[in-house]
Amino acid sequence: MTDTSSTNIPISPRQAMIRRALRHKGLIFGTVVMAVVILIAIFAPLLTEYDPYKQNLLTRMKPPVLLGGDPDHWLGTDALGRDYWARLAYGARVSLTIGIVAAVISATIGCTLGILAGYFGGRVDAVVTFLINVRLAMPVVLVALAVVALLGGSLIVVISVLGLLLWDRFAVVLRSATMQVRSLEYIAAAEVLGASLPRILVKDILPNVMNHLIVIFTLEMAHAIILEAALSFLGLGVQPPTPSWGLMISEGKEMLLFESWLITIPGVALFFLVLAINMMGDGIRDVTAPEGRN
């Protein structure tokens, strides 16, 4: 956790922040795990000689080396004889993409609506608040399921649906943050001086809410990854043979009671990824807002 020790030597806020960051175990853990996953995703082709799509029906469900399997496939093979490590490594790309892109889409929608509501207030605010209410009142999983069932699951559909459904938190936070900033005197002054809206946004509002944004971004990214796994569990996630972790879990589920490593390996990978993203989010919040933590 944070250690807000006071020192005698005066330091700049930035230095203090870095210092807090380096002492924050959760943040360090989260960042390291994230970095590892990102590296695996980027360098997947270098980390395995196997093609994650290449099946071999003669070598199905070979257990990992740890459980006495073949050293050729150190994490074993799946139900179609594809190398499990290769699928996991390439799957990191898919799972990260889902998380990041869905969060970017939500952030874009949520921020736009939130800023508009916060800045203009009045009717615009009423409409946006209404939209947020409608969005919150919709059962997310159900709506996502219905849409994916309609369009057929593909990476693009899943990402878009999740992106379109997870924007509410961005909107809520940006709305109140913008309102707060808007009421500050110097914004009014800037307006009087003829500064344009985009300029005020970029110079005054965004920097003020940046840390909030990052925290929500990580939360929603984790949320999107978990939701994709749930959609896959119900058979409506990313379509095979694309190696997403959620899909691997759902495929491994079939043999849960007999070859439990099939679900445990991608399950643990997903668990650590989501854990790391959340810990990063927590860490960033702690480090940037040492007083409150809320």
């Binding site: 799509y53 290449k54 099946q55 029906l57 003669l58 199905r60 469900m61 740890l66 459980l67 139900a79 179609l80 004889g81 069932a149 309609l150 057929g152 699951g153 593909s154 058979g235 379509q239 095979p240 043979p241 495929e251 589920k253 079939e254 043999m255 849960l256 009671l257 007999f258 070859e259 439990s260 490593w261 679900i263 445990t264 399950g267 643990v268 668990f271």
Partner: protein, 504 residues
């Protein structure tokens, strides 16, 4: 939560299983599970396998087909003869009563047939009933069923899906009442229905007992458990005595545990790939080219998929029907696994680098994935579109599906018309739209001359294979897993007959 811990944790699960003694034999109750929520018990208003299972226990047909010999026997009718091509006269069994005490006689047959044959009543599977025009009472125990046109598999339908309802009761309660409180003449009566969730059956003391045996096990308790892992967990816990439709891998593992009886039986269902030969989805699409369709046939190692994934008693099929069906010609063109030949054919067809196409499927995703892997090897890149059955069927009806993995269970009917008739007579599911094939099949289905039917089906099935309209894949099989206390010999028609179960 370290990796080895979790691995170990879930692995020990297997060492469990030494559960408390099962109370099922003691209380004479056989417990099993449905995976799907059955819409209604009224057999005329559902089209599900679960519905057929219940129907065979609750009701009787006029005839009965011995599942082992395939011979037709009398059931509610004791004798039957064709007066002419479209008139069947049946003598009914006397002394039969329904579960509610209503006596069975000609009025019940006339009422049931007239009710189901009337399209306004909206029977779900029209094919099962639409061949009958009406029934007429001759005397209390003699009826005539009049057909619209000659219909060769009439006996098969009278022994299967067409079951007899009590006229007074059904007239009073209708399908909704029948769904909640089903009344039939069968070996089991229904003691409680919680729609879609839970069914309790009880042996019917007054069962007539011929040609089917009266029930041996006193009670059948059926719960719906959607997740198959949960079903296996309940089986381990002794809360279920019988698992059906067990996937091949799980069945193997359960067998290896040595504590359960694992039985495998063939099914009438076959898998096939249908290709858009008539160009409905894409008039200039690759699938309109017979060379491409043949390339697909050569590209997929069906035997390897059967050996590795489908397993059991399944085998590769070459003809567009199930071997045990009447008039299913086996001597048709065969396409062996030969990726080089597939590539050559693709090149000849003008696709030297292959092509990309959507591949629609609705069940057995691993099989679909395996086929995609083989297609990929020869340069056919497939995008899997995995849909719910209804959505896929809808897309197929609209002709939007160029290339699809399908299966067909032929309503458990042992006649080629149940599959070929549905898919090659110009209907919405007909991707070939071959006028010649349509004409042969229609002619075959309007004559009762068995040799003539065999000849016509042979011509049709040969052409289907020659043109590679379909790539028939494999026959399906069903795995049944039972606790040691249960005795049951599965049959080859995917139907679980509760009245054939007994305790060891």
């Amino acid at each position: 939560m370290k990796l080895p811990n979790l691995l170990a944790a879930s692995a020990i699960a297997l060492s469990a299983g030494a559960m408390s003694a099962q109370a099922d034999k003691a209380d004479d109750t056989l417990r099993l599970a449905f995976t799907k929520e059955l819409e209604t018990v009224d057999i005329y208003f559902n089209s599900a396998r679960e519905g057929i299972l219940l129907a065979r226990a609750i009701w009787d047909g006029l005839l009965y087909r011995d599942p082992v010999t395939g011979e037709y026997k009398g059931n509610l009718a004791t004798e039957w003869k064709w007066i002419d091509d479209v008139t069947l006269e049946l003598k009914l069994r006397e002394g039969v009563t329904f579960h509610n005490g209503e006596p069975f006689n000609a009025d019940d047959v006339v009422y049931t047939v007239n009710y189901v044959a009337n399209p306004d009543n909206g029977i779900v599977v029209q094919r099962n009933v639409s061949w009958m025009d009406r029934a007429e009472k001759v005397d209390d125990y003699t009826v005539r069923i009049i057909l619209d046109a000659p219909f060769p598999p009439a006996e098969e339908f009278l022994a299967g899906p067409v079951v007899m309802y009590p006229n007074e009761y059904y007239a009073e309660v209708g399908p909704a009442g029948m769904a909640l409180n089903p009344i039939g003449t069968g070996p089991y009566k229904v003691s409680s229905v919680d729609p879609g969730l839970h069914y309790e059956l009880e042996a019917f003391d007054g069962y007539h007992g011929d040609p089917r045996n009266a029930a041996s096990i006193g009670k059948i308790d059926i719960r719906t458990i959607p997740d198959f892992n949960t079903q296996i967990a309940e089986f381990f816990n002794g809360q279920l005595d019988f698992l059906w439709n067990v996937p091949a891998d799980q069945a193997e593992k359960l067998d290896a545990m040595g504590k359960y009886q694992v039985e495998n039986a063939e099914a009438i269902r076959i898998g096939f790939i249908s290709m858009d030969a008539s160009g409905r989805a894409d008039a200039d699409g690759p699938m309109t080219n017979p060379l491409v369709r043949k390339a697909v046939a050569h590209a997929i190692d069906r035997q390897a998929i059967v050996d590795a994934l489908v397993k059991g008693s399944s085998e590769v099929v070459h003809s567009a029907c199930a071997k045990i069906q009447f008039a299913c010609e086996q001597d048709v063109a065969q396409y062996e696994y030969n990726p080089e030949k597939a590539k050559a054919l693709l090149a000849e067809a003008g696709y030297p680098d292959g092509f990309e196409i959507d591949f629609h499927a609705y069940r057995n995703r691993p099989y679909a994935e395996a086929m995609m892997g083989f297609l990929d090897e020869v340069g056919i890149k497939t995008n899997l579109v995995y849909l719910k059955y209804s959505a896929l069927r809808d897309a197929r009806s609209k002709g939007e599906v160029p290339f699809t993995f399908q299966t067909w269970g032929s309503y458990s009917l042992a006649d080629a018309s149940a599959i070929v008739g549905e898919h090659f007579t110009g209907g919405m599911l007909d991707d070939a739209k071959d006028a010649e094939v349509t004409a042969w099949v229609n002619e075959a289905d309007s004559t009762t001359d068995k040799d003539k039917r065999i000849g016509l089906y042979s011509k049709a099935l040969k052409k289907i294979a020659d043109e590679a309209y379909w790539l028939p894949l494999w026959s399906y099989n069903v795995n049944y897993v039972m606790s040691q206390e249960v005795s049951y010999a599965p049959t080859n028609d995917e139907i679980v007959r509760f009245f054939d179960f007994s305790w060891k």
